[in-house]
């Protein structure tokens, strides 16, 4: 050891003598760079602000809002917006604003968790398929199968099958929540899996993976250290898009009568229940509709921003 050290100094002298090193620019961390880039994307920043406001509104808002979303007040049913009830009341006199705020919690939670689940499955399958040649054909077949499987009847049946057992185990709210999240997750991972697989195949060919192999890095470590961090950027973009898709899917499930039960306010459910009142009380439809759209749009913009920020072509080396 000691003499390598000596030699090192010697060599350093020589190498520096002729080559030297230029000053390397100021230190910039990888994610710092991404953030710098992201901040320049106006749409993405606006999206981030809007999503933050919506999330705060949903999770903190109800604490300050005076009405309970489940309080029935039949004499005051079907009111338009008033100072008392900012968005009016529904058919049995519940405050719509309170319901929209609380509904946001569930919709957002569903959106984010389901996207996370979908991404988790997709990334897992994608990495396994891309990395292990033996699993590839099998997993890709599975992906194709899921893509070709008509999901609607599947959804129906899964919901019918497990709704009550889950309800019993986790209580009525958490049970159905888990179910909806599971269903959206299980039907939305295929795209991510394909993207990730493609990415892994490309990364696997890159020399730094070969380098790791030549060092004798174990496969587990190659995946965790080299492959996974590098597929993170498409995964992040997929995740951002996935949130929007999950929120819409939840509302779609409500529409076909499969989502949350009708006594359970989510944006999709509120929107669906209010559609017949489109003429009488248009705002009742507009509010949840607008919030769904706003969230999805914002999240999409964030996804756009992330994509740009993570695109190496747009960043100087």
């Amino acid at each position: 050891m000691a003499d390598t050290h000596e030699r090192a100094e010697e060599i350093t002298q020589e190498t520096l003598g002729d080559g030297g090193i230029a000053e390397v620019g100021e230190h910039r961390s990888l994610w710092g760079d991404v953030w710098r880039q992201f901040r320049r994307h106006k749409g993405a920043m606006a999206g981030l602000v809007v999503v933050t406001i919506i999330v705060l509104g949903a999770f903190v808002g109800p604490i300050f809002y005076p009405h309970d979303p489940f309080d029935i007040d039949v004499p005051n049913a079907n009111q338009g917006p008033t100072l008392e009830h900012l968005m009016g009341t529904d058919t049995i006199g519940r405050d719509i604003m309170a319901r929209v705020l609380v509904g946001g919690r569930i919709s957002l939670a569903v959106g984010f968790t389901a996207a996370l689940l979908g991404i988790f499955i997709g990334t897992g399958v994608g990495i396994l398929a891309g990395f292990f040649r033996r699993l590839d054909a099998l997993l890709m077949r599975l992906t194709d199968l899921f893509l070709a499987l008509p999901v609607l009847p599947l959804l129906l049946v899964i919901i019918l099958l497990f709704r009550d057992s889950l309800r019993e185990r986790f209580g009525p709210e958490l049970g159905i929540f888990l179910l909806v999240v599971f269903i959206i997750g299980i039907t939305s991972w295929m795209q991510t899996a394909r993207i990730v697989r493609g990415e892994v195949l490309a990364i696997k060919r890159q020399e730094f993976v070969l380098a790791a192999q030549s060092i004798g890095t174990r496969r587990r470590n190659i995946i965790m250290r080299h492959i996974f961090p590098n597929v993170l950027s498409p995964v992040m973009v997929s995740a951002a898009l996935g949130v929007g898709i999950a929120i819409i899917t939840e509302s779609f499930l409500s529409f076909i009568g499969l989502g949350f039960p009708s006594d359970f306010p989510t944006w999709g459910r509120l929107l669906f229940d209010a559609v017949p009142f489109l003429e009488i009380a248009p705002m009742r439809v507009i509010w949840p509709g607008a919030l769904i759209s706003l969230t999805v749009i914002s999240v999409n913009f964030i996804g756009d921003g992330l994509r740009d920020a993570l695109d190496p072509r747009l960043r100087s080396g």
């Binding site: 020589e14 390397v24 990888l30 760079d33 004798g216 890095t217 470590n221």
Partner: protein, 338 residues
Amino acid sequence: MVSERMEDQPAASTGAEVLVGVRDLKKHFPITGGLLKRQVGAVKAVDGVSFDIYRGHTLGLVGESGSGKSTIGRVILQLDHATEGSVVFDNVDLTQTTGEKLRKIRPRMQMVFQDPHASLNPRMTVSSIVGEPLKEHRAAKRAEKLDRIDELLSLVGLEPSHANRYPHEFSGGQRQRIGIARAIALNPEFIICDEPIAALDVSIQSQIVNLLENLQHHLGLTYLFISHDLSMVRHIADRVAVLYLGKVMELADVDSIYTDPKHPYTQALLSAVPVPDPEVESSRKRIILEGDIPSPADPPPGCPFNTRCPIAQQRCVDEVPEWRELSGGRWVACHFAE
């Protein structure tokens, strides 16, 4: 028969110790097709290659793109499995070694890659890149490891203060230095340099070559230096092997091959290299080869070079030329060379 003859080759020529012996090495990538996706052919990327690399020396490996240079490198390091043949490293046949045993040998042989952008994980800091081999082989304790990383960085001419930065903050030449630091981290005996300077600017190339030479000198390294830059190979290598379509055409010490190439392909290759001197250029006779290098999936019969060879005859199509030794430790695969 070929390998038999090769056995006594090193002793005959230089007397130096053989560190790596490659015998009749083949690497065929299957091509699948048809209704049932059966194998219908093979890309013969490396098709029967034999050579020795002497301890402390540099073997240059030149050839055109697609001739199989990188594949040879990967197969020697067992990053790809050989289809046939053996790679003997310090008396161990690597093609027969697997699992943990192979992992134990890996630190002794390393690789420096062509593309300084692709060979460093963009999501890892310099210290984790350089430290990865140490970590994987538990070669050093934590504190020692940090010292060792500093030491390695200064060995390759970088400052220890750069350890916490990411590869994208460095220029191509500096990245290549990081790659070299990683390769020497475990004190290897043998390093394969796969076109380490091809992606660098002319003004930086010489820096890296100097570094490699210095390291070799001080650490007693053995190199397989892969390149298509013939002038740089001439500078750095002791012996040179010329590869064409997965086969070695000619192997000799560097001086003889550059001054007196025996194989028509070597002759053509050398004559095609432009010389940065207008005077020489204007008086040079060029051998311009016709056509392109054939596809390794469908190599021509006989001598692989027969489709472009200016002196080819019917014999070259009918017969695979023997890999034979000429005088003075020169090896050639041509019917007509002498």
